[in-house]
């Protein structure tokens, strides 16, 4: 397991400790044998995602946008008049899920939907002025968030890390 802490999931319900031994009583087994897990990529990917979510909450959370909504704002900003289905495809998100995401962004005044006149099945998405301002904030926070997650990876190795993770994803 090397030097990586694997606890940290312990509940912190009773914070009204008396200053004495408030730590859970782990004496029964301090050293857990993790078997395959330390070499199991899925185990670490899951924990990495939890760490990413935590960092996201800390760095982007005040914008009250879920990760997929933040990504949607970014992509709509870069791809004016993108349709919901193309956006969903780009984000790896289902059609019906996209509806809820876009409706929320619309209700908050960040995007506008309009039908494509030539083919009224398509719902085209654009940022409003307020949405554009939000996009600026989103970009700034996402960059800080990304920098935070990668803070322990030397800059020279980050490309390599991304490339390797992308290699896990490819079909």
């Amino acid at each position: 397991m090397s030097n990586v802490k694997l606890s940290a999931a312990r509940r912190q319900r009773s914070k009204t400790g008396n200053g004495a031994d408030a730590e859970p009583h782990l004496s029964l087994m301090e050293n857990v044998n993790y078997d395959l897990l330390p070499n199991h990529i899925g185990f670490w990917i899951r924990r990495a995602q939890l760490a990413v979510m935590k960092s996201y909450e800390e760095h982007v959370g005040d914008l009250d946008l879920r990760p997929v909504e933040a990504a949607a704002i970014l992509l709509i900003g870069q791809n004016k008049d993108i349709s919901q289905i193309v956006l969903g495809s780009a984000l790896g998100t289902d059609q019906s899920t996209m509806v809820a995401i876009c409706t929320r962004l619309e209700n908050r005044g960040y995007i506008e939907r309009r039908r494509l006149p030539e083919d009224r099945r398509y719902q085209l998405l654009t940022l409003t002025a307020e949405g554009s301002r939000a996009a600026v904030a989103v970009r700034k926070r996402l960059i800080a968030h990304n920098e935070n997650v990668l803070r322990r990876i030397p800059a020279a190795e980050r490309k390599k890390l991304l490339a390797m993770i992308q290699n896990l994803v490819q079909e």
Copy 2:
């Protein structure tokens, strides 16, 4: 975006195509500008987790155990009489979630729970004979699953990948 496919999330509802152009009509925007996302670690971690889940389903799915249950069987096998709270801590899972996991494993005959006589608050977990057989199967499947996920990463680089991902996790 290099050569990595980012679509694939398209729904496949109407498979009764006529053999002609059954592909969704993406002509409106073939080339999406992904902005920050290609360099955004969280974006790739999320997609990696989806890939891991897919591979898990294919390689371990027939055991009808969720990932956390498979991991629990492994750890109980390697740590006889581990308590629920220590196991939960090791897996990064909440106390109350552990109850449901252990109850399911108990109902399937894979584990036994018994109270520690010296401190009856503790519920100690051990594998049954059937649980031990399951653990053998779990180990075999997890190894194949892991090998599959890492199949495009040269063996010499896998340690490096794991180390870097672990560096994302550390507090």
